[in-house]
């Protein structure tokens, strides 16, 4: 019960929803850059939302699945092929033993996607999670990105898994958004380290995603954000989406592999929902921030839960359909 990696692609990692509960030990949460897509992919297959899948970034993965399974590519459409035939994202496919799954590359709606398998990926739990944290060689497949020749185990799927073949997630439920949508943010814990002009720049101007992006953070290019105090603070906690502004005035949005603590002033914190949207963007994409209230930020999360429930009901109905 496994798949073999023929080509690993640009960056392919095993991720579940993250290693929560150990930040006080200095252990990074990691987990998926777009958790909403991973959760939906798992729901489509009848998996647990926290089951581990492959986080695929950009392009190039090529695997051979040794056992029959259903698979879904949830997230950006990365031109998947199954045994040579084009296969859609957000669609469950039955794959017979020996099937080859390849990921061609970007088609324009984002850069990360989750290849979910019915039953999920079976790697050892490390501190309660299967997520890979490469910097500390923690979790996932031997603590690292996949390489050619790796043999990755799969869990046994739950009963009736096969009946999910062909299920499509309706476009209106998918958590994908245009790559120029405004990014929602709330004022950060050190907003008083910035001048009014600096704050206006942050919420008013257009930034672009720089070339310096990874799972730890997204550095943005654009106008300098003016500070009125030193950007160096006595280290405190860094939440997902925290926007740090070092002395050079260029914002860095902290993502899944962020360190647990840091010493730069945080002007804002991107909402959980929007951080996953930013994670789909590529160097050169525009980024504009919009100041939102806590209620609005949380409303997106409630809305997603409703979509997830709708999808789960659809899955149940789909499986019990007349054939």
């Amino acid at each position: 019960m496994s798949f073999v990696v023929e080509k690993p692609g640009a960056l392919t990692l095993v991720q579940d929803l993250g290693r929560w509960g150990h930040q006080f030990r200095g252990v990074t949460v990691s987990g998926p850059m777009d958790p909403f897509s991973l959760r939906m992919g798992n729901i489509m297959l009848g998996n647990g939302q926290n089951d581990a899948a492959l986080e695929i970034t950009l392009f190039g993965l090529d695997i051979i699945v040794n056992e029959e399974r259903c698979v879904v590519l949830a997230g950006a459409d990365l031109n998947m092929r199954i045994n040579g035939a084009p296969a859609q994202s957000w669609t469950a496919y039955y794959v017979p033993p020996g099937s080859r799954i390849t990921i061609g590359g970007l088609s324009g709606d984002g850069c990360r996607s989750y290849l979910c398998f019915s039953g999920g990926i079976d790697v050892p739990l490390v501190m309660g999670s299967r997520s890979t944290y490469v910097r500390a060689s923690l979790g996932g497949y031997n603590g690292r990105a996949l390489k050619s020749g790796d043999v990755v185990n799969l869990n046994a799927p739950k009963p009736l898994w096969r009946l999910g073949d062909g299920l499509v997630c309706p476009p209106e439920l998918r958590p994908m958004r245009p790559r120029d949508e405004l990014i929602c943010a709330m004022d950060g814990p050190q907003i008083d380290a910035f001048t009014q002009e600096g704050i206006n720049t942050f919420y008013g101007e257009t930034f672009t995603v720089s070339n310096e992006i990874d799972r730890m953070g997204y550095r943005l290019d654009g106008p300098e954000i003016e500070l009125c105090k030193s950007p160096d603070i006595v280290s405190d906690g860094i939440a997902l989406g925290a926007v740090q502004v070092p002395g050079h005035g260029r914002p860095i949005v902290m993502m899944s592999d962020r360190q647990t603590t840091g010493g730069y002033a945080k002007i804002a914190v991107v909402c959980t929902w929007s951080a996953a949207k930013l994670a789909q963007r590529l160097p050169g994409d525009p980024v504009r921030f919009r100041r939102v209230s806590e209620d609005e930020a949380v409303s997106y999360l409630f809305e997603f839960e409703r979509s997830l429930e709708t999808l789960d009901r659809m899955r149940a109905t789909y499986r019990s359909r007349r054939r």
Binding site: F24, M127, M186, G188, P189, S235, G241, K266, V269
Partner: protein, 257 residues
């Protein structure tokens, strides 16, 4: 330290309770006692508490609990803290082999401070260190309280790989590398203890913030013995618990500030 801690929003899923804007042991002791008290109550929707030098970050699921409700519960807990309660000081004794192959930068520190190696070891082991927080890498503790006469600037050329357990000095700070990592600290010794062990799902880290560390000088022979015991799982670290008066500063004292 502030008279009353401040609540700072940090996005839709994190609330920061800030006690001070500087490194302040009283503030840290207070936030540690708040953290202990909150951990006992198991607030539904709270994912974890992350103490730092001067604040406590509370991560929560906003679908389960609102920020306003969380603030109310934290306020209530803060009011209930007994400032005159006798505290407990947990000390971890950390054996360290100083100098030689374990402390390749001992010479630098000796040159910079004008002290002999023996004197450096005497001063480094002579005080207990308070662990304010963990961060940087898994299991890395930020310690306070080094004898300032030992202060030595970082290496001009950082090393690409420093073995886990290395004990070093960087400016006025001292600490131990918890995992193999690059770094620029002046290395004066190494502990055979495993500061971060992800395979130990119960206690992957030896030190918790709020603990104290007492370095103990050991020979290289003792280093090998302890190292063997650690790898076979037979070593249990020496921990000392001391009762102390008034770990939490009294509230009346705060009012006077």
């Amino acid at each position: 330290m502030y008279r009353t801690p401040r609540f700072l929003g940090s996005g839709d899923s994190c609330l920061v309770v800030e006690f001070s804007d500087s490194i302040d042991m009283e503030a840290n002791l207070r936030l540690q006692s708040l953290r202990r008290e909150l951990s006992k109550t198991h607030i539904p929707g709270v994912l974890e508490y992350v103490p730092t030098y001067r604040s406590l970050a509370v991560y929560f699921n906003p679908l389960s609990i609102s920020r306003a409700e969380l603030e109310r519960l934290i306020d209530r807990t803060m009011d209930s803290l007994d400032p005159s309660a006798r505290g407990v000081r947990r000390v971890l004794v950390m054996p360290v082999a100083y100098g030689g192959e374990f402390g390749p930068d001992m010479k630098n520190v000796s040159e910079h401070t004008g002290m002999s190696e023996e004197e450096i070891v005497r001063r480094h082991t002579g005080l207990d260190y308070y662990c304010y927080m963990l961060g940087f890498t898994p299991g890395f503790s930020y310690l306070g309280g080094m004898d300032e006469s030992l202060a030595t600037p970082r290496l001009r050329n950082p090393r690409l790989l420093i073995p886990a357990g290395s004990v070093g000095i960087a400016g006025k700070q001292t600490g131990a590398y918890s995992i193999d990592s690059p770094g620029g600290w002046q290395l004066i010794g190494r502990t055979p203890l495993r500061l971060f062990d992800p395979s130990d799902s119960e206690n992957p880290t030896l030190i918790d913030s709020g603990d104290w560390i007492r370095f103990r000088s050991i020979s290289s022979d003792e280093y090998s013995v302890i190292q063997k015991e650690v790898s076979s799982g037979k070593y249990s670290p020496v921990r000392v618990t001391e009762e102390v008066e008034g770990l939490c500063p009294s509230s009346s004292k705060n009012q006077a500030r």
